[in-house]
Symmetry: D2
Subunit: 130 residues, 4 copies
């Protein structure tokens, strides 16, 4: 599991005076940044693409208190894997998200198998039950 | 159905040289802005909250060409409704999204029934088949 | 002079219920996008960098009404030029900005002279008095 | 002086593969967030407005390494004050900025004198030479 602390920014609040839901994917992406790095020796040539993202917004998130992003690996396939993410503020579960990423080869413009070394790391991080 | 044209911004591209997926919810929100207005006489007191968002990212979106956001009403419940949205660039379907919104009463902090007048407008926009 | 209309987005409002000042540089960049294109055959290899930006925030900008960005060329040097920009909402001047851009050669990592053809276009757009 | 560490986000890079200049004001605002709090018991009723911002972009900022924002108070007037800010990455000065803020009374919609207690704190943080 990966853990990341994020401090909500003034520019991330909106007219409703809480954090807008459009900010959440930005935070979730920060939550799995370490996984992106596993795939990308050179970040200018990333080899991961996001193919699906499903978010449940359960509670409002406010400016003024840090949030915690927990990221675990839910399922590892041949060329894709699914992440489960949870966003907490004040010990309250605010967002639950599921993101499907594909290992993509930009040179052939086709998905390719996840390298064994990376696969092993993802498998280790696979949560037993989420 | 609602239609909205958006011009991708330089600041919406990222290191991979296309539009980052975190930008899409911002555009989708613009796509249903007219619906938000139906619920909110005063935008400082909006009465709509997003409870779920599911996005399929089907094709890369590039800087330099406008995108078209099509928004239709998929299902209208007592206090909630579901939108179906599609993002096109160059006549190619790039994103397919489903968003569930709830009519929320910030004074009681509980969901409330969608007003009849608004309900009728949403019903009219309901797509026969999506 | 270049003119661009922008519709403020919900995600661009903040907790103070108006448009945050951090959004303005994003809009100003859209205002001179045509100039960026003059310099960049290939947008993945832009050859313009921003070296200074000075903004006066004169009036609040609100969600719900379009803004107009007027961009004129103030001064053209050998390898740099200065833009003068004004942001209006409801015929009220809200922001006045001055941006200095340099024609940059990423291969040598040094500034280079503005090509004559581009220089002529910039000169034409040069405002007599601002 | 205030010090803040910020980790550049993927969504803050752009097509040029470094951090876009439009991101800088967002970071600078985080840099003086503590000062905003001095003025705002209730953040929904902030009493500080930004009236001018001047930024020199001296060096490119890249994804992958933290940046440090240093904020000092340059000048304290009756109802306004000026901040001097510096953004460093890898010990290199990348941005130098000057921001003028005004203590604003939203009820009268006029500037008001900076409260003595806040003024004293700002004076303490005033840099001797910048």
């Amino acid at each position: 599991m990966f853990k990341k602390i994020i401090t909500p920014r003034i520019s991330e609040t909106n007219i409703t005076r809480h954090i807008g839901h459009t900010v959440i994917p930005v935070w979730l992406e920060e939550g799995y940044e370490e996984i992106i790095r596993l795939f990308s020796h050179d970040l200018a040539e990333p080899s991961l693409i996001t193919v699906n993202m499903n978010m449940d917004f359960l509670n409002e998130i406010f400016f003024g208190k840090d949030v915690e992003i927990l990221t675990s690996v839910k399922k590892v396939g041949i060329s894709s894997f699914v992440l489960h993410q949870e966003v907490y503020q004040d010990r309250k579960l605010c967002v639950k998200a599921s993101t499907t990423l594909v290992h993509f080869d930009y040179s052939t413009h086709k998905p390719g198998p996840i390298p064994k070394a990376v696969r092993d790391i993802l498998k280790e991080r696979e949560s037993v039950s989420t």
